[in-house]
């Protein structure tokens, strides 16, 4: 659960609404409950979306963190999309 914890901690430092999706499931990136449940089943592709004043910064930082977790795995990919 540590990765989810770090992710949520970081997400909460930004003034932005952050959502993370995997396939058809989209969850609130600031909620540990939702993130752990997503993490429990997710594959290697995550999509991070942010909306709000610090959206750009948030996506970059979270993407970097997510990539750290997957370091060493052959085909991790973190997609990103920003709005607002």
């Amino acid at each position: 659960m540590r990765p989810a914890m770090q992710f949520v901690d970081l997400a909460n430092t930004f003034d932005a609404d952050i959502s993370v999706s995997h396939g058809d499931t989209t969850v609130d990136g600031k909620s540990i409950m939702q993130m752990t449940m997503l993490a429990a089943t997710c594959g290697s592709r995550l999509k991070i979306r942010a909306k709000g004043p610090e959206a750009q910064k948030a996506v970059e930082a979270l993407k970097e963190l997510a990539e750290q977790f997957f370091m060493g795995v052959s085909q991790p990919q973190v997609g990103q999309q920003e709005e607002g």
Binding site: M1, R2, P3, A4, A40, S44, M71
Partner: protein, 578 residues
Amino acid sequence: MEIRKGIAVSPGIAIAKAMVIDSRDYRIPRRTIMPSQRTAEIQRVRKAFARAIQELDEIKSAKRIEESEIGDIFAVHMRFLRDKSFRKRITDLINKEKVTVEYAVSTVLREIASHFAGIDDTYISERAADIYDIERRLLKHLQGRVEDNLGHLREDVVILAHDLTPTQTAGFNKTFVKGFATERGGRTSHTAIVARSLGIPAVVALGELSLEISPDCQVIVDGNRGVVIIDPDEETLAQYKRYAEQVTRFVSELNVLRDLPAETRDGVRIELMGNIEFPDEAAQVLEKGGDGIGLYRTEFLYLYGGSEPTEDDHYHAYAETIRTLKDKPVVIRTMDLGADKMPHSNWHPNETNPALGLRSIRYCLQNFPMFKTQLRAILRASVLGDVRMMFPLITTLQELRQAKMIVRDVMEDLDEYAVPYNAKMPIGIMIETPSSALTAGLLAQEADFFSIGTNDLIQYTLAVDRANEHVSTLFSPAEPAVLRLIRSVIQEAHKARIGLSVCGEVASDPEFIMLLLGMGVRTLSLAVPMIPEVKKIVRSVSIEQCGRLARRVATLDSSRQIKNVLRDAASKILPENF
């Protein structure tokens, strides 16, 4: 009387009264509320959360646990309690279904827990216990119930539980808890780790237990054989009491041997090393009179902990072990997991035959960044003591060369940053496939030492999966084919004058010690609790006698004959053990 078989995760025998803890025992009935009570119920939710948060703060400051794994777990709990969408899910249920807070809390947390428990990955499914822990905490504050506090124990007990949560084990009065038996769990589950660190016996993965037993009922936890006996009959109880006394007596007798060298009667010094998995087992190697660590498994770093281990995670674990051993040798084996077991990788190749698939060194050679992280940490730790490194599952010389090339790459990186390491750190390989055994002469030119891993060598030589009950009786280290391979590896190692050890289960099997010595093995690496017993055997035999036995065995043509001869020889040496 009920006899159950599980996984032994911490050795010893405990006989005591049962203390049943069931983290699912709060069965909350569904009770509805009047619409007018909703505000009051939601007020209660807020209060319970606030008190739970306060309690966690207190635990944190009282136990100084921030750095430990347990601290991490409580940190996750804290975030759950502060999670607005988690709380909303509970209040939504109250508003919509008009149920009590207790029911809502219980329902929501069980939904989350069952989501985890249903995942086919032991690391994740074991985390369901954490969610039950949150449920317990919240309900405790809602109901103002006094916890069935294990801190108030007054007599010896054995704990029976579905699974133990960190809060439960943190609250134990350690003087009175003599053993654990749980329905779930594995070698890396919380129960196992706590039991080992307390030095009390534990058996996990027992399956459904009848937890509705009378409170005065006796329970036997046999952490040596992985057996739990609930409510034993007079005879079994008497038998086990004798066995427990025997074990204690034998252990204290063997402890006398601790400071004596493992030397045969004709003066040949045999090195007895320990196989360990966790850094906290390192001290036991010294306690049992071991000469070092012959196999330091590093898989726990990948399996226990929430994310892929960082270089520092590796380094700290190695440094702790090496410092405990001072200048005694520590042989670190690089990651030996199959791709199918990698918990943090979401890429699970679809393999019909994982034992012949992408695992161990093969996985490392396809995942450089992960492999290099571990190599950097081992190299950094190499200056702290007598550190050696070995690669598992090498099948060809090509693979060894490739792995060593990566080591050189990492060394160059370290040079660039002027990070110190031992450039002469010995690098050896495990011999655990027929391919490497047959080409041992070639491999010996480029490896600094061999360690024969008998478990895999037997599996691959005889083509037998010993976990498969239909063929497991075919699995035998005494098969002539296996012994021939072992013999030729020993000869090639001697010819090339490189180090050689045996680190499989055979090295701790009292019946095989004489044969191995007779075949020329001088270093054994074995399960730590077995070191004193093996030392006793070593000190009771002469190399000449062992050599004679080995020559006799070489003339026999069946596993059954060989086993009988070995058993006879061993029973003459240590009649009381056989």
